[in-house]
């Protein structure tokens, strides 16, 4: 049984439809990358899984249970954690306090302050820095670490690379194997196709809210991806 199954969902923002009949499925322990251009509906998809958006039709099942109507704060105890677009670090809290808030649900597991400082060395040095004063890379690392503090079964990563220098993106993605090694299922949303192909077992490409291509990175040619990505 797949850990997360999405079946034919439509998602709207007011009158505007952002997702059309999208389905998706991830086995436990797998890493899936959802790629697509700006406005393809990638973030909306993640928000629907985390509970910040509710699909108008279709079903989202986690561990076999329908979760369409479960509010976001109840999905965290189930083992769903989202690192949101724009990081959303709490600005008036220190980075360490941000991490501690991530442990609010007290789910136990491998991840705690010390294992996370090991995995994200750049956070260890900056833990007493206020969120608002942290650099983009520090904020992104803290946002991922904060999500991991809930020891999720599935980690949803939204646009990790956005607005960061390539060196920093490398640093942050370097932590991904350690996360996957713990058996955590990972769903990454990326505009950076190369990065997405490198880290994932499977890729799903969205265009204007619809799935246009999916498959294993090794089986997809650059041309097919480019045409799916841009719709040409």
């Amino acid at each position: 049984m797949a850990l997360l199954e999405i079946e034919n969902i439509d998602v709207f923002y007011g009158d505007v439809q952002a997702i059309f009949d999208v389905s998706l499925s991830i086995e436990e322990g797998q890493t899936l990358a959802v790629i697509g251009a700006n406005g393809a509906g990638k973030s909306t998809l993640l928000k629907s899984i985390a509970g910040l958006c509710t699909p108008a039709t279709g079903e989202i099942r986690f561990n076999g249970e329908r979760i369409n109507d479960v509010p976001p704060h109840r999905r965290v105890p189930l083992g769903i954690a989202l690192t949101p677009e724009g990081r959303r670090i709490f600005p008036s809290l220190t980075l360490e306090e941000n991490l501690l808030v991530g442990a609010h649900t007290k789910r136990s597991g491998y991840w705690n302050l010390s294992t996370l400082y090991e995995t994200f060395p750049l956070l260890a040095d900056r833990k007493s820095r206020l969120g608002t004063n942290a650099s983009g890379g520090e904020q992104q690392a803290a946002a991922i670490a904060r999500a991991l503090m809930s020891n999720p079964r599935i980690l949803l990563l939204d646009e990790v690379s956005l607005g960061l220098a390539p060196v920093v993106v490398e640093q942050i993605y370097a932590a991904l194997p350690a996360i996957v090694e713990q058996g955590t299922t990972v769903l990454v949303v990326e505009q950076d196709v190369n990065q997405a192909m490198k880290v994932s077992d499977r890729v799903q490409c969205l265009l204007d809210g619809r799935t246009v291509l999916e498959g294993k990175p090794s089986e997809l040619s650059r041309e097919r991806i480019a045409s799916a990505f841009f719709g040409i």
């Binding site: 985390a50 704060h73 965290v76 709490f90 941000n98 808030v101 609010h104 649900t105």
Partner: protein, 289 residues
């Protein structure tokens, strides 16, 4: 020496204002909610304390053991029912709801207790004072009020800075949606914050009722002084609220020394000057561990 005395008395009075303003400051800090029923609720607590003293003969300080939990419960219920709903509407809704609440409370109190002035009797403590210098004497009860005010502010600050729940409150205040992604249910947290805030209003109301005479309309001026203390100190900053209360108290007492009968007016003028030149307050928000 008269002036030094005025400053000392002003500082002490400021402790009462800070005590009255602590709950208002907390509610604004945590959920950006301006509770216009704050003063009215303080007067409810004063009446509650008075009734308990008169009917049961309890010593005034002992009534706190009943008044504070009762008011905290009132706060919790208010938040879970009216205020959480109001906060989900547009930004004017909470202000209108709490304003309406203030009007209803005031009229209910008038209906039950009439408009006569009342006070809570603390016996000999009311007149007791300590001579500090030949020219300066401090009332024992006002001094206790001041100390309680400082302890309340310090305790709240410590609670927000050091406890798990306090941290969750600060996180929710920063970004409610991101807090939900951490598994935090803001409705529970808000109810807890309001319970604490209104419990503290209960504490402040009893102290107010001992210190001065009150009647049902007294909630308005209580709200204004508390509000001025919060604004002078800086919205959302608890230490700022303490300083705001002290500055307001000193302005009023020193003002009355200079222009008898215009003390309160001078307090308002200081408030307006702060609002005009430092609209974020003198001690803008710094809440961290």
């Amino acid at each position: 020496m008269q002036w030094a005395n005025a400053v000392v008395q002003g500082v002490i009075l400021g402790g009462l204002y800070a005590l009255l303003a602590a709950g208002l400051s907390l509610m604004f800090g945590v959920m950006r909610l301006v509770n216009l029923a704050h003063g009215a609720l303080a007067i409810v607590a004063a009446y509650l304390g008075m009734v308990l003293v008169n009917k049961t003969g309890l010593p005034p300080f002992a009534t706190l053991l009943i008044v504070v939990p009762v008011m905290a419960l009132v706060g919790w219920v208010l938040q879970r029912t009216l205020l959480n709903t109001a906060l989900n509407r547009q930004s004017l809704a909470p202000i209108l709801v709490t304003f309406g609440l203030a009007v209803i409370i005031q009229n209910l109190l008038l209906e039950i207790f009439t408009a006569d002035n009342q006070s809570i009797d603390v016996g000999s403590l009311a007149g007791a004072s300590i001579q500090i210098t030949p020219d300066i004497a401090v009332g024992v009860f006002p001094l206790i009020t001041f100390i309680v005010g400082v302890l309340v502010i310090a305790g709240l600050q410590l609670y927000l800075a050091k406890t798990t729940t306090g941290r969750a409150m600060r996180a929710t205040s920063d970004d409610r949606e991101a807090a939900a992604l951490m598994g935090i249910d803001h409705r529970n947290l808000y109810a807890l914050a309001t319970a604490i805030a209104i419990g503290l209003v209960g504490l402040a109301g009893v102290f107010l009722g001992v210190r001065t005479q009150f009647n049902p309309t007294f909630g308005d001026v209580t709200l204004i002084f508390a509000f001025e203390a919060v604004i002078i100190g800086g919205l959302g900053s608890l230490w700022g609220t303490l300083w705001g209360g002290i500055i307001l108290g000193v302005a009023q007492v020193v003002g009355a020394q200079a222009f008898p009968s215009s003390g309160v007016l001078l307090g308002h003028i200081v408030f307006l000057l702060v609002l005009a030149f430092r609209p974020t307050g003198l001690f803008p928000k710094v809440v961290n561990g």
